[in-house]
Point group: C2
Chain length 327, copies 2
Amino acid sequence: MNLSEVGEIPLLEAVRKKFSRTVPGLVVGIGDDAAVIKPSKAPMLLTTDMMVEGVHFDLRWTTSFQLGFKLVSVNVSDIYAMGGRPRFLLLNFAAPKDFDTELFHNFFKGIRKALKTYSLDLIGGDISASEKVILSATVIGHARKILRRSGAQVGDCVYVSGYLGNSACGLQLMRRIKRTVEIEKNKRVEYGPGWKVISPLLRRYLMPEVVPPDKFTDKATAMMDISDGLLVDLSRLCRESRVGVTIYEESIPMSRELKETAKLLKKDPLDLALGGGEDYELLFTAPENQRVDAFCIGMIMESGMKIVHKTGKTSTIVIKGYQHFAV
Amino acid sequence: MNLSEVGEIPLLEAVRKKFSRTVPGLVVGIGDDAAVIKPSKAPMLLTTDMMVEGVHFDLRWTTSFQLGFKLVSVNVSDIYAMGGRPRFLLLNFAAPKDFDTELFHNFFKGIRKALKTYSLDLIGGDISASEKVILSATVIGHARKILRRSGAQVGDCVYVSGYLGNSACGLQLMRRIKRTVEIEKNKRVEYGPGWKVISPLLRRYLMPEVVPPDKFTDKATAMMDISDGLLVDLSRLCRESRVGVTIYEESIPMSRELKETAKLLKKDPLDLALGGGEDYELLFTAPENQRVDAFCIGMIMESGMKIVHKTGKTSTIVIKGYQHFAV
């Protein structure tokens, strides 16, 4: 069966049935012209992202379950990056008329899995036809303390919340494996250094789970998530905070799996960690002499962006990272 | 110049500069991971919509200014339909790398025009590359009294806020004119019955301006906007309210311009008014014996959907209206 054999209204009804439930703070959910939520005492966070087939994902090697999960993760990552907690999701789904109904329902299974993982609820959106699969999501959250990109102070340490480069290496692997790997169903694929080594990389790329900022929020002075690559995003944080930075090559957190796999793929793991993108780890700054459960990669300076190499040599950072419309 | 010659970051910066301003209720606008708004005492309304080139619009006969304006209107219409006022807009814009920079800026001029018209502010979003132009918007609003689709009572009158079918007739005209008509620059085109007759139809299709529900909210029992055609949307209102309806053919408000143009195009104006869609007028119910400044088209009944024709004959309504994924 494909979507045109079922029709828009039954599809919408199916989604509504699956996702309608009584939610604290929600007055009107899916099924009216707009969703209605109760007033809250905390400031409200709002973020939106679009994912387009052929640009942001490739259905030859991404299952629709993974796509649904990742779409939510990417948006939740933005809420976490402000120090917030996600509460509600709005979703637009567009696909070709001949899109398989099973893929459609699997996409919503991925969405549901993510909603459970991050404790948020689907409250509205729309479904329409298009030539390619196009997704857009809006996540609404709340924050106790808001962490902006602009709060970094000279002398602050620079932290990242986890390993970098895993996702970019996962993408490199998928381009070679060239078929879907249903990690959500514990399906394995043997490739290169073997499943045990490649699976955390594939998972990070295909269905990244992002980590809440709770243990950092009280200490952090500035925060953002790493989506376009460490260096690009760090340069944004510095620009917004009107500061510079020095980072240390030897402090960049890279997993054993990344190093082993990159070597086999003849890629420089440091390149993937600095500019690969889609890490969806938190990048933040906090005053020195604080105990922070994250990787300290450098220090905020008056100006300039520098990297100290393992050799001891220092060089000015040249930005590498994903830009749309780059030629 | 095209988008790839400028690059994503300068494009984002240009948008940020143009739209950043101090707004009551806004804590963080464009430029961080998420927008932050202050808590409010009123319930909050949230709606999202996507518009895809080739499905929802055709760039051969829609200017990017009109596109920007219409994208906002369509979303504001959903907020109005719940009895609310729009406050904030989040926007995702995707276009091919060779998309003309002037078209890009014109799109944002259309957005700006709409923001002024409806008193709301752009507070976030993203720009990315894609093969076709893809837009998604989320509008956040507030409501004093929420009007759902489900509140219609047996005996209520059924109202529409304005003429129906103008937009659908405008689309029929554009399919024949087959080039852009810059009504935003007071450019005219002579076609069929002439500019004076066709211009309100073209305007309603190309850049509809939607009317706030304020004068209806206190009286209305149920409300929604007409986007997929009167009959489809009326059937939704009836289903949600668990009621039926009888409407009167002679009461369907149709403009003189629609009747005159439809005749020339060999279309039935009633067909366009009942099922054409994209009217973006309000459809609502209110108790009898109220003074309501809108067109009364029928009455809510226990069950069934019927239409009384001009001849006096009554027939059961057969749903005509736009459905995505319809074959």
